[in-house]
């Protein structure tokens, strides 16, 4: 279980202080798929970096499976938006997926089986000895997902992972994330600025306000568990939910506007 309580982050540059996160409290239960959505520039990435233990918060606590997060937690894997910069170009696909497992000191046979099952789970069999830059953007992001899956995390953080791929690839990758989540029984926290994506993917959607960020609203997505791009997106309930999220995000933006005006 991921528990974020009263999280605060202010950046200091010289005498100026910028408040990025004001007060964030939410929980993600084990095995849940939760989407975080917010207006652009709302500190989503700051939040994710705090959860991943890459950034020290200014206040509040984060705990993962009961353990306070003080550095990168061992049971957590992350998929970055910038797949091209997050995969190591000097390593083949196999080596990229295998490197974190070597760090975990797993025996070679176990590593090999994890790598091949992760690559086949994301539909990339046969690309083991290619370099990432020889693959398309969507395939590179699949490699990054395979690396996260092979790591066998209890929690998977995804930071706008599909923001840089084309729409069709994106739809495929969304379905891939849902399929992997259902199969592997991991907790997924998925950050996006795309409202449709958040409603399509999540069991719950947490809406963030503009910076300085607080939780604006939260909804449970009561769509059936088996979703597909065609029917789910045409569902009346889907439209209702996305309208609600959209209104909340607009309200969040207006809220920011009025604080600026006043």
């Amino acid at each position: 279980m991921l528990k974020v309580t009263g999280l605060r982050k202010t950046y200091r540059s010289g005498a100026r202080e910028v408040e990025a996160l004001r007060d964030l409290t939410f929980t993600v239960e084990n095995g849940e798929l939760v989407c975080l959505v917010g207006p652009s520039g709302c500190g989503k990435t700051t939040l994710l970096r705090c959860i991943a233990g890459l950034l020290d918060p200014s206040g509040g606590t984060i705990s993962l499976d009961g353990q306070p997060v003080q550095g990168p937690p061992p049971g957590l894997a992350m998929v970055f938006q910038e797949y091209g910069r997050s995969l190591f170009p000097w390593m083949t696909v196999r080596d990229n997926v295998e490197l974190p497992l070597k760090q975990k000191k797993l025996p070679a046979a176990r590593r090999a089986s994890l790598v091949s099952s992760a690559l086949s789970a994301v539909g990339l069999e046969g690309t083991e000895s290619a370099y990432p830059w020889q693959l398309s953007g969507g395939m590179q992001q699949r490699v990054a997902i395979a690396r996260a899956v092979a790591y066998e995390p209890s929690t998977l953080l995804m930071d706008e992972p599909f923001a840089a791929v084309d729409a069709q690839t994106r739809a495929d990758l969304e379905d891939l994330v849902r399929a992997l989540w259902q199969r592997l029984n991991v907790t997924v926290l998925f950050i996006t600025h795309d409202i449709d994506e958040a409603v399509y993917l999540g069991q719950r959607v947490i809406m963030l306000s503009s910076s300085p960020t607080v939780v604006q609203d939260e909804i449970t997505v009561d769509l059936p568990a088996s979703r597909d791009q065609l029917h789910t997106r045409a569902d009346a309930r889907f439209t209702e939910l996305r309208t609600h999220v959209y209104e909340q995000i607009q309200a969040a933006k207006r809220g920011a506007q009025s604080t600026v005006d006043s």
């Binding site: 970096r49 991943a52 233990g53 890459l54 550095g71 990168p72 061992p74 957590l76 894997a77 992350m78 970055f80 910038e82 910069r85 997050s86 190591f88 170009p89 000097w90 390593m91 490197l99 974190p100 760090q103 975990k104 370099y131 830059w133 020889q134 690396r147 790591y151």
Partner: protein, 254 residues
């Protein structure tokens, strides 16, 4: 085939021009190329290669290797640590600005005139481009790559070996390439000061004893040596950085 013609074209033309223009030369100091080439075969026998060229090459290799190891190791330390960098960078700039040959007399005082002096001169002279390029390369490692390594628990020596070094390797290779030509220059210079063998020593000996065609043949040999070494370097670099050239190619296409 066409590439070979491009590579060899101009050298062949220059050599032919030298051969033809110098063929009627009466000058004692600039003998015809024909004479120089004839003396080349007589001068650079296997015995001489073993006695003079081999020691030079061994000292070059030793000095270059010491510079490589020190430059990369210190460069990584400085590049990873902002405080160390702020402290040592001005001093580094000063030492880099010193022309390395000027160190030869000083190093002779401490290290004598043996092999170790020459190795130290070569190492001290060519460590700077390696060191400074490594610092730059390490500083420029993509923050997302560092974050990825951290998020997956890749830390300490393993992060340096698996992430920082490879990420900085194109820049380190650029430093090594610059250092190679400096190393060859210093190899010759260190042998001109005080030596009993080596290529630089032999060429100066020929000049002092007015063996002019032999002196010229030594210079040609030195040129060939430098050319061969840089060719070998490029081959090795192309192999080690194949991923980098492929990545650049892929980025250009997209």
């Amino acid at each position: 085939m066409k590439r070979v013609a491009y590579v060899l074209g101009l050298p062949v033309v220059l050599f032919a021009a030298w051969f033809l223009l110098s063929s009627g030369s009466e000058s004692f100091y600039a003998p015809p190329l024909r004479t120089i080439l004839a003396s080349f075969a007589d001068t650079w026998t296997l015995d001489r290669l073993r006695a003079d060229v081999l020691p030079s090459l061994l000292r070059l290799a030793a000095g270059y290797a010491v510079a490589g190891v020190l430059g990369v190791a210190i460069g990584i330390t400085i590049g990873l640590n902002r405080r160390v960098r702020a402290t040592v960078e001005p001093v580094l700039e000063f030492f880099r600005a010193l022309p390395p040959p000027v160190l030869v007399p000083i190093i002779m005082l401490f290290a004598g005139i043996g092999d170790s002096m020459k190795i130290i001169v070569i190492a001290l002279g060519c460590v700077w481009p390696i060191l400074l390029n490594t610092v730059e390369g390490v500083r420029a490692v993509d923050s997302i790559q560092i974050d990825t390594a951290r998020a997956y628990g890749i830390s300490g020596p393993s992060r340096i070996r698996q992430v920082i070094l490879p990420a900085a390797s194109p820049q380190i290779a650029a430093g090594l390439r610059q250092a190679l030509s400096i190393a060859i220059i210093l190899m010759v210079i260190s042998e001109m000061f005080a030596s009993s063998n080596g290529l630089g020593f032999t060429i100066v000996q020929f000049q002092r004893s007015f063996a002019i065609p032999e002196m010229w043949s030594g210079i040609i040999l030195l040129g060939l040596l430098g050319f061969t070494l840089s060719l070998l370097f490029r081959l090795a670099e192309g192999r080690a950085l194949r991923w980098y050239h492929g990545l650049r190619e892929a980025q250009r296409r997209s």
